[in-house]
């Protein structure tokens, strides 16, 4: 940790950064997001596997505009989010100082290409517990699945915390805020809630970098990450495109292959 603090401190003292987004110890020992503007604050800086919040979500905050150069301590999800944001023209190469810690060593990424390589070499396998949960739901009958989701989604209060926590939900006007026409029912009825979660899943299909922040942020404990996870798996297996691994656009839903396979078109 001292290596990380020393390095970050040097970035401050040499004037390379004037804001560093990292983590400090949270209430249960996990990392919570922390913003450092002076090197003497850095004694609180930590990084370990319990630092799970995706810090890329903060980059869109207008409050950060006043900082000339921002450093960010990126966990794996953050790195993928940064790549996807670059592919979507939201950040540029070299805009941020990007660090991570791997095997106890501080890594500074020279550019997005370096992140691409790092991500490619370290892509994790899907969490087996999640897969098992998904499988369990998928093995239910059609009616049971409908019932399961109707019940789960009825808890949704439409706080949109899932959206706020997602580093890729950066639209200035979310679809749910379009009211001419009103695409998604705003009242949290069963219908409006289903529509919202369909829209959220579809908008993240091919873009979701699987950081799990949406579900973590859900105050109602809805397993909504399963929806995006399922669509991601569909996209990877059908089209071979893995979101958040490339700095150039490679979006499954704006590309196609002439021989894309399906079995339901008559």
């Amino acid at each position: 940790m001292s290596d990380l603090i020393n390095k970050t401190s040097q970035f401050f003292s040499s004037g390379i950064i004037d804001l560093f987004i990292g983590y400090k110890k949270g209430r249960l020992g996990e990392g919570k997001p922390a913003f450092f503007t002076k090197p003497d604050q850095l004694s609180e800086l930590i990084f370990d596997e319990n630092c799970i919040v995706n810090l890329a979500v903060y980059l869109r905050k207008p409050e950060l505009k006043k900082y000339s150069k921002i450093g960010i301590l990126a966990n794996f999800g953050t790195l993928r989010a940064l790549l996807q944001l670059a592919a979507e023209n939201q950040i540029t190469d070299g805009q941020y100082l990007i660090l991570t810690v791997a095997d106890g060593k501080v890594l500074e990424f020279a550019n997005l290409k370096a992140i691409e390589e790092y991500v490619a070499n370290n892509l994790p396998k899907p969490n087996p517990e999640r897969l098992a949960l998904l499988k369990e739901i998928e093995s239910k009958s059609r009616e049971e699945r409908w019932d399961f989701w109707t019940r789960e989604l009825s808890s949704c209060i439409r706080c949109y915390a899932c959206r706020a926590a997602c580093p890729l939900c950066y639209c200035e006007q979310c679809l749910v805020e379009c009211n001419q026409p009103q695409w998604v029912g705003v009242p949290p009825t069963g219908l409006g809630n289903l529509e919202w979660h369909i829209v959220r899943a579809m908008h993240l299909a091919g873009r979701c970098i699987s950081c799990g922040e949406c579900e973590a942020a859900c105050p109602m404990e809805i397993p909504l990450g399963l929806l995006t996870q399922k669509l991601n798996m569909t996209i990877i297996s059908n089209f071979g495109q893995i979101p958040g691994t490339k700095r150039e656009p490679d979006y499954a839903l704006s590309t196609f292959k002439v021989d894309d396979k399906e079995n339901f078109i008559r």
């Binding site: 808890s155 439409r158 009242p187 942020a217 105050p219």
Partner: protein, 334 residues
Amino acid sequence: MEYKLIKLEKIQEFINSLIATGKQVLAPKQKKEKVFFSLIHSFEEIAMDYIQTAFSAKSAVFPKCEELYTFEKNGKETILNNPQAPENDTIVFGMRPCDGAAFDYLATFFLKENPDYHFKMRYDNTIFVGLTCSSGDEFCFCSSVGISPSDTRGSDLMLTKTENGYYVEIITEKGKKLVEQFANFFEQIEQIDKTKYVANIQKRFDSSALKEKISGAFDWERWEETSLPCFGCGTCAFSCPTCTCFDIQDEANLLGGTRYRIWDTCALGIFTKHASGHNPREKQSERWRNRILHKFLYTDEQFGILSCVGCGRCIRNCPAELSIIEQVNAITEG
């Protein structure tokens, strides 16, 4: 004031009888890691052992999705239908004293000047059964905002767990009626000293120091810095027992439709966004400031009460672990 005792083994029967007589019982229920107020169908569903629910029970009187009225076209005419009051009473069972105080606040907010038809309809039909806190956690701070963990404000009945069962204080007529209706579950008892059953909630901040600073805090220069971790999820407001902001939404087709009142939050950018596109609260720090000032200044100015009851939900639920306690202390320290 009258006092009763309900034995531990009787409480189950009591609840089940409430349900059997058609009352809607809203009580704490476990879901995964959290406890929520939920409509229950039998006593077994109730989670009795909890420090605080994830959300308050405000949905009993302020549902997340409430019909204001329905409308339909009949030829050239448009017919409006107001909703009717629920036929049966609702029992909010097992809410903490801070939530009781919050219902007191809600009643002030909705009923003081222009009584809100829909709120009143539900409020009048709801019986609030409070439950004294026997323990608290580091996020509880009711004592800092003038509420005690055994406060009876806002409750119709107040329960305190003792060795012999639940000690019942009958606070209101409504509460008394309920006890009378189900008299066989209750035993007569003398007033007892609750102190030893009540949690000790430490003061987390100095409310008088805060009061001094807060009126000038709008221009405080640290709002941005202290709110940086907030990414605007709004969970604080949704889970807050006193947050009352709502949005009005119509759902309609060519034949008719419904006007709904739904929860809203000042944490969202669109909350204050004008039709012109201008947004007076452009940044999250401004929205965060609004929430803090609303809790500790604006309602004080308007109604003479703080709209923070120290339940600690906003801290427990915050994905970025922002703390209203730390925030208030920062303001007090300047």
